[in-house]
Amino acid sequence: MSNSINKRNRETFRKLTVITLVMFGFGYALVPLYEKICEVTGINDLAKPDEVVNAQVDTSRSIVLEFDANVRGEIAWELVPRERKRKVHPGELVHVVFDLKNSSEVPVLAQAIPSYGPQRAGLYVKKLDCFCFTQQEIAAGENLELPVVLVVEPSIPRDVHTVTLSYTMFEIEGGGERTAAKELEGGKG
């Protein structure tokens, strides 16, 4: 009799443990889920070439494309768009160049992350080629020309007039070194 309750209790315990484990997994599942949502809504574009669905040039309207670039980290380097802004028609093929200059005395391995303002515009800016698709290696004192080829889809909402394409360049470092550097920083802070 008392055994029957014990059995039921154990059964409930098992079920609840499963729920707990599933929810722990769900926390992790939020990572790919979030990436997928961002990809679909164009918030954070993943680093791969897009396909252009509609290549018809819409000459009836034009959009101001702004270019912006940032570099992070302690190294002496710069990333600068060759032009600050350009007026383009949706559907038109746009070539732009960013200049990466490493004034430091060490070679740098770098990765650029694209970002859009307003974010939803990211859905309509299709990058056919971009230096952000691969890591860039730049020797000490070297200058690199980094190209981007993109198309603004004609389906972009009519109320979007300005789109900012911004890159942030990060240094890719060796794992061990990096953790050590962080510890040091944390200790100070």
Binding site: N44, E66, D68, N70, R72, R84, K85, I113, S115, Y116, G117, P118, Q119, D159, V160, H161, T162, T164, S166, T168, F170, G189
Partner: protein, 277 residues
Amino acid sequence: MIKNDIKSTFGGSMRLTAFLRLICVGTVMLVPGLAAAELQWNFKPANTEIGVAVHDLHSLVMWIIVLIAIVVFGAMFYAIVKHRKSAGHQAHQFHENTTIEIVWTVVPVFILVGMAFPATKALLELRDSSAPDMTIKATGYQWKWGYDYLDEGISFYSTLSTPREQIEGDTEKGENYLLEVDNPVVVPVGKKVRILTTANDVLHAWYVPELTVKQDAIPGFIRDTWFRAEKTGTFRGQCAELCGKEHGFMPIVVNVVSEDEYKIWVAEQKSRVAARN
């Protein structure tokens, strides 16, 4: 080592006694002090059209809340006063009434729908950063702001200019204590200014109350917001996202000036850049 930490953390006993004295004096002085001070009970006046809309929305909701509060607290205090045992009130043993339960579920839904309309309208306007007249990128650093005028090619850092002695209490605090910087942002009045935010290290947030702007700055990504100042003047704000030890010490100052003054300022900045090169 730990001992030293604690000592520096509490800043020695001198500070503590000074503090205790202050509490005593403060409590005594408080009442007359309050009467003299001009207290800010509500939002500061908005300097943007959308800001006025947001404040109106807030006022509307506050009035609705006052009405609901009168009904709910009215009933509660009525029961407290009239239905007390010491007043000889007998308990009536009812415990449900379907009609009234449906009413108090449905009526709030209607009130909420009524609030949702103006809120949606204000939100859509607030987030509409399209067709700006100019774009400024604000980059959060630990612990200062960097600004880039994307159209003009002007770049500068903006750092707290309040002297350390004022913070430590060694000299008297100035009027704009903690809300003053070496290089303020300068923008023309009446123009739609788009602010792109990003950050160098950790999260920051670009917040100027009177311009109704608050936007997180996220390392690696840009976000955008905007304002169109209606009046000239100086508007002060602060970083609004915890970003480390000097989170409280990276203010934002925006000088809204006339179109002409803005042009002069831009020319000055450009010639300064030219001189440096």
